[in-house]
Amino acid sequence: MTGPGYDPVIQGERIALVDLLDRVLAGGVVIVGDITLSIAEVDLVRVSLRALVTSISGLMEAMDDSREYP
């Protein structure tokens, strides 16, 4: 039996953007609350809430689709 939801997401599939950002933004990227990406304690990126919400719904989908953020 596989247990409740053993769910390997092996690469080759689109990897989740948030997993990638954890790694490429220096490690220790904290995606806190809803709008701030920070490295260590330094706020680095303030993502507009709207863009972020859009990204959540499409997180596992292709991010290079030409979606628009007005």
């Binding site: 053993y6 303030r46 993502v47 953020y69």
Partner: protein, 223 residues
Amino acid sequence: MGDVGDREYGEAALRHNLEDLDWLAQTARAHHAVLEAVAGRGPVVPMRLTTLFASDAGVTGTLQERADDFRRALSLISARSEWGVKAYAVKPSDPAADPGHQAAGPEGPAAGPGAAYLQRRRAQLTASSDARSEALDSARNVYAELSRVAVTSRLYPPQAPDLAGQQGPMVLNAAYLVADERAGEFAAATADLTARHRFVRLTLTGPWPAYSFVGEGDGAGQP
């Protein structure tokens, strides 16, 4: 290594672009694609996203000055890959639906709908807090067990629920550096742990370039 211009990567432009999620996503994916391509040909030390040098001489200078650091990093990651393991707390099922948790307090079922409700509610809260602490215990256990198969490991902060999607609260966000010949064993251990822990759901990602194991101060941590 590629040349970029001030218009996209100057200080002000970069600050702006890093706030543009589309730009960030595309740049991160492009960065990752380059690393993946190079990783197929030998060990590679990933740079952070938007690592910029003012000149080619700056690159060669850094490579020379920090040759020992790069050699150390290369020897750490050679024939090894990074794997990501995340654990999500599984929501407990409604205890009212579970005969084992049916109210059987001193008042009994005859105590009226108010008392019955309170009892049910108390049982729900207890079950939910039990499940939460079980999930955290499971996460610690999973982290420790998998560390035995890995060369080293590192913890990331759990991702925010909004970003993690509908999977429930994240209780573990770990990266492991695993010898390539033990990759199968690592995946099997992950599957085995997920079967043994009913309060967490595990996801395995990888192999990744060794992003999490080449920086300064990157080392093992405790949950």
